[in-house]
Structure formats: C-alpha cells, structure tokens
Amino acid sequence: MTEAALAAATPLRLGLVGSPNGGKTTIFNALTGLRAKVGNYAGVTVERREGETTLAGRRVVVIDLPGTYSLNPIGPDEAVVLRVLSGEIAGVAPPDALVIVADACTLDRSLLLVAQVLRLGLPSCLVLTMIDELVVRGGALDIERLERCLGIPVVGVVGHRGVGVDSLRRLLGRPEGWSRPVLLPPSSAQERAAWAASVLDSVLHERPGRSRITHAIDRIVLHPVAGTLIFAVMMVLFFQLIFAWAQPAMDFLDHAMTATARGLAGMLPAGWLSDLLTQGVIGGVGAVLVFLPQILLLFSLLYLLDDLGYMARAAFVIDRVMGRIGLEGRCFVSLLSSYACAVPGIMATRTIPSPRNRLATILVAPLMTCSARLPVYALLIGAFVPDRSVLGPIGLQGLVLLGLYFVGGFSALCVAAILKKTILAGEGLPFFMELPPYRLPTLRLWLTQVWGSARAFLRRAGTIILSVSVLLWVCLNFPRTEAPPHLKPEAAGRYRIEHSIAGRVGHAIQPAIAPLGFDWKIGVGLVASLAAREVIVSTMAQIYAASDESDSLRDAIVSDVDPATGQRLFTPATVASLLVFFVFALQCTSTLAVMRRETNSWRWPAFAFGYLLALAYGASFATHKIVTALGGG
C-alpha cells in the first residue's frame, strides 16, 4: 500500500484538550463544521464529541475531550479524559496528537494545564484563542518566544472570526513535523507554578488588565439588590418562555398533525391500517415534535446566556440556596425549567459539571409540576373543589392548585437532599466555577449548539417516544371488538376501550389500585397516561362517552356511581388520592426516554420510575385513608 493510500485508510486522530470557557468548542466547530457526532462514553454521563474533516489533504478525526482544568481526575467522569488519552476505553482509539486550546487572556492559569499535558509525551501544539481580546485589554504576547519556551508549535487565533484558522488547519494536518519539548515541565504543583511564571515572564510583555466591560456589567449584575432582581427577571423569562411562549408553536404543530391525519385518512380505505397510520403513527410523531418548540426556545436562551457568561453569574447568585440541599447553583435552571416540562429541564442538566449533582437533578426533575399535569389538575379541581372564595379574590380552587405545585417542588428539594446524603453521597469534587468575561457569541456557534440539542433529542429520545406512543395507541385500540349494535355510538367507544389490552390491564390492576380508591376506569386512564400525563383526560372522555373534554366530562365523573354499591365513585378521598398520585408518579415516557439518553443507561430511568411510583402509591394510599377518616369517603 502506498503511503497516500494508508493515510486515506486510517484517519489521523487529534484530541482537543482545554479548560471550559477556553474556546475549545469554537475551535472544534471551526475545524469540523456541522459534522460532529455526539454520543456518550460507556458507563459515564460524559458527552463524547467527534468530527471528521480534511486538513492539509489528510483525513482527520477531531475528538473534543471534556473541558478540564487539570489532568488529576476526581471521580470516574473526569477520568475519562485520561482514559481516552491512554487508549483505555474500548472502541475509542487514542489520539495520535493533542491540540491544547487555551484562552490567551488566562495564560497564567492555562500554563498549569499545558505543563500536565506536555508530560504525557504525545505530539502537542498550543492554540491560543481570544488574542484580539488580549490586545484590547492591554496585553502583549510574543508567540514566537512562547513556541521556543514550550518547545511546541503555538498558533494564535480569533476563532469566531476565522483569523488564524487557515494556518491552524495547515499545522494540524502534519503533527509529524511538530517540534517536541527538549525538557518536560516539572510535575509538582509548586515547581509547575514556578515554571509557568518563568515562561510568562519571558513571553508576556504586558499583562492584560481586567476586562473593563465585564467589571462594569458585574457591578450591576452581581450587585446584592440589582443582581437579585435581574436574576429573578431572567428566571421568570425562562419559565415564561417554555411555559407560555412555546404554546403557539405547539398548538400549530398539533393542528398540522390533525390536518395531516385527516388528509391521510381521506386517501386510505377505512380500517385498522388507516387508524394505525392516522392515529397511532401520526399521533406518535406529534408526541415527539410537540417538545421541539420548548427545546429550541429553552436551549436558544440557555446557550445564549451561557455563551454570554450570564449563566455562571446566575448560578453564583442562587448557589447558597441550592447548596442547602446538597446541590449547586447550576442545578437551578434545570429544576425551574422542569416546572414547565421535565424533558428540556433534564436536557439542560448538561451544564452541571458534577456528575452526582447532575444525576440528582435529573432524578428529581419529574417531581416539578410540569404543564402536562395542568389539564388533569384542572379537570379534577374544577369538578370537585367548590368554587368559593377563601379570602377576597383568593379562591379555594386556586389555593388547591398552588398547594399541588408547592408539594411537587418541595418534594423535589427533599428527595434531592436525601439522594445527596445516601446513594449520591460524597464525590469529593469541590465546588468551583469560573466567571468568564462577558463575550458575544457568534450566531454560528449559537445555532450549532441549539441545533445539536434538538437533533440529539430527535434521534435518541424521539425514537423511543415514537415507538412507545404507537405501542400505547395499539394497547388502547386492540384487539378490535365490535360493540353490540344496540349501544349508542358514545357507549360503543367505552365498550371498545374496556375490551382493549389497556382495558384489560385496567381491570387486572384494579386490586392493586383499589386501596387508593381507584376503579378500573382510572386504571385505564393511568395506563394511557404513560404516553403523556394529559392523555388521561382524553381517555376518560372516551370511557365516559363525553362529547367534550371539559364540561360534559366533568359532569360525567361527578355523577358516576359504583354499580355494586350505588355510591359515588369519585369521593373526596378518591379525588384527593388521584391528585396526589399525579403529583408524584412519573407518568411520562418522554421523560424516561430523555433520562435514558442523558444518563446513558436504563438503570436511572428505571430507578426514577420505581421510586416515584412507590412515593405516589404510598402518598395516595395515605391521602385516601386520611380523607376517608375525616369523613370524605
């Protein structure tokens, strides 16, 4: 084989090493464009990103290693960087050469990491980003001298403007020609710092001053009063964005799906195949797409604020509160977002560096009262809680709703605290967070990140959500039984559901749910709500042969009586118990699918489903007993 053919067959592998906020992602994007493959390293929650490109006529795979301040790992997730570098991870070939990416403005600190990387002995080069900002801040750096001091090639770039990227691409294609250091930097922390200081002294003619604009903004944004207000406004904005502003787009998708289904039904001969396609499959696709507006909006704002530098400030402001329950400031946005929907909330945990804090946040996110619970709460509260005023304009119905929101959020904090004291206790990772200077992200970087999140959701969670939705639709509609001809059309619907797989499951689990005050009809609703919590409302409407999902369904469940006892089925105890069940239970396959994607295993979604089901069952059981004892049976 010729040398050229060999080069074409085995691509060169380049590893990007650097601290967070150092511009590593910008360099990765500048080198690979939009062709990044995103996955997970086996067994850990660390994101794996690789992209292929051609540099100096050669095929190159660029590996974006997780951002790190040090090569002394704390915990298995941080150890990934070292394990990749040494080729210890099965299926991941070690890099042939390393590209250290460092912010020129923080060279003083970055040299400490450079020293560690050089000691690995792999061919290395250094890419200095933000050299324009260094100049603006009054710094002067001699890059050629830095090359001589370190003994490796050094390139200065302004990644987002493409300055220096061409010479970088030429350099990266030929690591065989890179100079190697004659002497390795020292290994002990003290000597390493002295080495860094001596390098710095000879290459940095002027130290960059503080970023003035950052200092000016921080005087307001981190001011005890103004900063707290800005934080509150930002968080309200976040919440509003996914809770309310995503709604028009979600409604539009809903209409589009209904129209498509109707159009398709008109073209197909009536029958089960037509029903499966128009209701099952299109319904399933809709169930996936409905999350897209929230995900796109949340991540647009999240990445924008993160790239700007605000997210670190927000975490700084709220850290004390989150620290009380063993979490940290960066968990707050995820939990808040989960109040609208746990799916984007769980995806947002990617910004939490501590794996245990991230896992704890993921596991309690479903407890936050998401918007899918609202239709269920609205139906039950509207039907059974008297609409009377408690104090002026404050009504009893509103108070009950507020109470349910509170119980959800409060339990999330309690469970997080318990998890952090038990199965997720201790990892020895100190809390530290860099406050980077404020920087304007480029449109390209921003869009790449947002699109990356949406694509990852569609590919890996979307497939699970789609299959489960179709499966649940089949359970509610098969086996197909013909209702006796004397039944009215509405009653026929109920007959068919009762004889479907879901109906049989509802009957089968009745002994288990009877202590909670639920009958088989609620059982069917619970099975159906696994697709999404609000589906219980439309399923109940079908069972109660209600013509619409609000007034007539409300009347139907209020007047429903148990045929055996002649008692009302929905007693206060049953209603309270059902409400409590929905506060706790993880009735949402989409959340489970996203948990599976984010934790890279079925173990954690199974654990979350199990503990929340146990919590829901226990709390509902207790609620039913207590309300019955108080005379509400």
Binding site: S70, N72, I74, D108, Q190, R210, G227
Partner: protein, 87 residues
Amino acid sequence: MDDGRSDTNSKAVSLAALPVGGRGLVAHVRAGDAVGERLLDLGFVPGTPVLVLRRAPLGDPSVYELRGYQLCLRRSEAERIHVRPIP
C-alpha cells in the same frame, strides 16, 4: 524587597476570612486529598496573589481573582486556602 517581615509578622489567615476587596498571598493550601490537589491545579499555589472580588447576595459563595481570571468558591473550599493578607 520583602525583608521577611511578612513571613513572621503577617499571620496567615483563611481566604474565607478576608473581607471583600482584601488581598493576600497564598501561604499554603490544606492538600493531601483530591480537593486540595484541585485547588492547587486551579492556581492556588503558595505565593500567588489573590483578591476577594465580591460575595453573593446571600453571603456565600465568593468570587476571587487570581492569575488573571475570576473563580467562584464556597466558604468551605476557601477555608482550606491560607493567605497572608497584603495591606
């Protein structure tokens, strides 16, 4: 130059004890475990000048400036770092 007075007279205090706006030179870091190692890797090496830039509205954590960057640490971590205050 320093005549050694700061070594004998200026007693090392915990970084957490410095007020906002206070400066100090890192004297030593309680090392020996992963947290201590990490603080060294973040640049809290003896001799490094540190400035207490600000505290969070609720009093914790605090932002420190060192080696040309700003780092936020909680009181519990800052207490492991001992500094000699610079007046």
